[in-house]
């Protein structure tokens, strides 16, 4: 009898400890969910920093993770249009469907830049709601952190105070760090750089840097020799300081152009896990800024 009681109590204890299962579409949201969820959240990240979030497939492993998720945290704004809807429809999980509290789109919490005036595929793989790569502006991270913590609190009411407390603590650290980064990055202001894809626009915008060109002729269209040759000519008139590429980009077009434009290539982590130092969101920003500063002078 006593054994049975102990067993029942143990099961009850186990159940009350059941953590919030979070499926994060990208590493930045996985890292943020870990900051906010602490040991009350089980976070699985669907993609790595070395993968292009546009081009992921709805792999069996992702469908399995979506099946058990209490909360799916994605960027939205059609970044995951090729695969997140499949995870929703294939997983048989009612909680993470569009419109349910278990589906969180980070982009819905912030205002996006580069919203195209006309939406047409002749402009490349454009996103009608605006540029979805918005996690490289620390103000957006702060806004999303607040909204995500509230979502987690509403889904797991018993731990609401815990999530809110962690969010406050995170935001305090984050704002302090962001102020420090802005100061550190002052020399980057006005620095012209060539990017690979339009995935660094928020970073450039935040730090006041200038985009002198892009390796992709149109968003989502791989760099072509014709476009790169043309770019070399343009850059002769106004030379950039560097060619920046994200960790998941093909290194060759960036190197090809950098060699001809006689400027260095800077690899930026783009998201958590993109470089050894980008272990979390703080590391991501610190490493990105220090790598850019290295070529600023």
């Amino acid at each position: 009898m006593r054994l049975l009681l102990a067993l029942v109590l143990a099961v009850a204890a186990l159940q009350s400890q059941a953590a919030l299962n979070i499926l994060a579409c990208e590493p930045e949201w996985g890292a943020l969910a870990k900051e906010l969820g602490g040991d009350k959240a089980n976070v699985y990240v669907a993609t790595t920093a070395l993968q292009d979030p546009h081009r992921v497939e709805a792999r069996p492993s992702l469908i399995a993770r979506a099946r058990n998720a209490d909360l799916m945290v994605c960027t939205g704004a059609q970044l995951e249009i090729g695969w997140a809807p499949l995870l929703q429809t294939q997983s048989g999980n009612a909680k993470i469907q569009v419109g349910q509290p278990g589906y969180f789109e980070a982009s819905s919490a912030v205002s996006l830049i580069e919203k195209p005036g006309t939406v047409d595929r002749s402009l490349g793989d454009v996103h009608p709601q605006g540029n979805p790569h918005m996690h490289l502006d620390p103000r957006n991270i702060a806004t999303v952190a607040g909204a995500l913590a509230e979502r987690m609190a509403s889904l797991d009411a018993s731990q609401a105070a815990y999530y809110r407390g962690r969010a406050q603590e995170f935001l305090a650290r984050w704002k302090e760090a962001a102020a420090r980064w802005e100061k550190q990055a002052a020399p980057l202001k006005g620095m012209p750089v060539v990017v690979y894809h339009k995935d660094l626009s928020y970073l450039l915008n935040w730090l006041g840097m200038r985009e002198a060109g892009a390796l992709e002729p149109k968003p989502g269209i791989p760099p072509s020799t014709a476009h790169l040759t043309e770019l070399v000519e343009t850059l002769k008139r106004s030379p950039p300081k560097a060619v920046i590429r994200s960790a998941y980009n093909d290194p060759r077009p960036a190197e090809w152009l950098a060699e001809r434009a006689k400027v260095p290539v800077v690899l930026v982590p783009y998201t958590v896990g993109g470089t050894d130092r980008a272990k979390d969101l703080f590391g991501l920003y610190e490493d990105t800024i220090s790598r850019l500063l290295a070529v600023a002078s």
Binding site: L50, I81, G82, S91, I221
Partner: protein
């Protein structure tokens, strides 16, 4: 003295206020500038008018130019009864492929719907898929109803425009008439585990091959399928599965000629059951498929049919055990460019007829020929929405002849972004 002090304080305060005002002004200015830099307030995702609820619509345009050494109009797979649907190579010369219209949307919080209509090159409209699917059952369950591509095997649920070759593998042509899209229901369950485990069952009317569209109550065809899958590190993803299909065709008839050239009609009634084993693995360095990636895919089919075969109206016992398989690999060796090779083979197996039909009476069914085919392809995709393909094949579907095929194909997708199915 007092007055002086007061004066000084007042001046200081005024200056302070002015300073404060200035910095406030500057702050405001900065904020306005910042706001201007950002986009206007997030507008609704789509127009706010009544068309805001329009479903996602996409159109697939396809066409081929073909050079074939054999006439596609007398295409047959020796040893296997014609399936009555597409299966022959495209017409010689230029020809339009199927233009597909895909309309999909959530219906309400509980259902999603999808229509795939194919406009065939001979000006017919064909409903390929028209189904609803539940969203809110939970517990890993999904129910589908209507006409849909069956989830058996690997390639069956994949739309033709997303195939890696222009045509279906031989076992799909011989055993399923290209693919199975019956009218019916499907129940699917995903296990609550980190390993992908999917179990499902379908019941249908048996509208197409291997069914015979019988006029009777109940299910004329049903299937069971199970798949498991997962990742190996960051670079490899895989899925393997087993499917079973059972159909009860009644007088599944086809017209043919005997060895002497006389027209004959044969029809099968009985039980057709089939096993399929399928496997797919995809590799890309660090799971990043944009520069290079590799795909390995194979399926094995084994079919047993028991019942009666009527020969020009005269019935007799019939039983057959036949099998087939294909294996293919596609490698993207640089951005935009992929190359692939496929080998497929059918085994005529054992076919027995109670009334002693022979190759003289039914040369198509009673044979010791094993059809096979070698296919090579190279395709080029300028963007995710356009693809051009060159495909070369040596097709030995017909006993004694090799059909050397050269196909040029385009596949273009307009409208809503397609799904990246694994």
């Amino acid at each position: 003295m007092h007055r002086k002090l007061l004066c000084a304080v007042a001046i200081a305060m005024a200056a302070d206020a002015a300073l404060a005002q200035e910095s406030e002004l500057e702050q405001l200015k900065r904020r306005v500038e910042e706001l201007e830099k950002r986009a206007p307030a997030p507008a609704p995702a789509r127009g706010a008018g009544t068309n805001a609820f329009n479903p996602d619509i996409s159109v697939i345009l396809q066409g081929t130019a073909a050079r074939l050494s054999q006439d596609p109009s007398d295409y047959q797979i020796t040893g296997f009864a014609p399936t009555g649907s597409e299966g022959a190579p495209p017409r010689r010369g230029f020809s339009l492929g199927e233009s597909e219209l895909v309309i999909t949307s959530n219906i309400d919080p509980y259902f999603r719907g999808q229509l795939v209509a194919a406009l065939t090159p001979d000006n017919a409209l064909e409903v390929e898929e028209a189904f609803f699917q539940t969203l809110a059952l939970g517990k890993g369950l999904t129910l589908k109803g209507g006409r849909f591509l069956s989830s058996i095997g690997y390639q069956n649920p994949i739309h033709q425009h997303a195939w890696d070759f222009q045509d279906a593998p031989l076992p799909y042509k011989a055993f399923l008439g290209g693919r199975l899209n019956d009218d019916g229901v499907q129940l699917k369950w995903i296990a609550p585990a980190d390993l992908f485990v999917e179990l499902g069952a379908e019941a249908g009317r048996g509208r197409t091959f291997p069914g015979s569209d019988p006029n009777r109550n109940g299910a004329g065809l049903w299937t069971l399928f199970g798949h498991v899958g997962g990742d190996i590190g960051d670079s490899t993803a895989w899925r393997a599965g087993v499917s079973y299909l059972r159909a009860s065709p009644t007088d599944r008839a086809f017209d043919d000629f005997d060895a002497a050239g006389n027209p004959v009609t044969q029809g099968f009634s009985g039980r057709s059951s089939m096993w399929i084993a399928d496997f797919i693995a995809k590799w890309a360095p660090n799971g990043n498929a944009s520069v290079t990636n590799l795909k390995l895919q194979g399926e094995y089919f084994r079919r047993t049919e028991d019942g009666t075969l009527s020969y020009n109206g005269a019935p007799g016992d019939y039983s057959s055990r036949q099998s087939g398989w294909y294996a293919q690999t596609v490698y993207q060796f640089m951005p935009r460019w992929r190359a692939g090779y496929r080998y497929d083979r059918l085994s005529h197996g054992s076919v027995s007829s109670g009334v002693g039909l022979t190759a003289a009476e039914s040369p198509l069914l009673f044979t010791d020929y094993n059809p096979s085919r070698n296919t090579l392809m190279v395709d080029w995709s300028l963007s995710e929405f356009s693809r051009f393909r060159l495909q070369l094949a040596a097709d030995k579907s017909r006993a004694g002849v090799t059909d050397n095929q050269v196909l040029l194909q385009y596949i273009l997708s307009l409208g809503a972004h397609g799904a990246h199915t694994f």
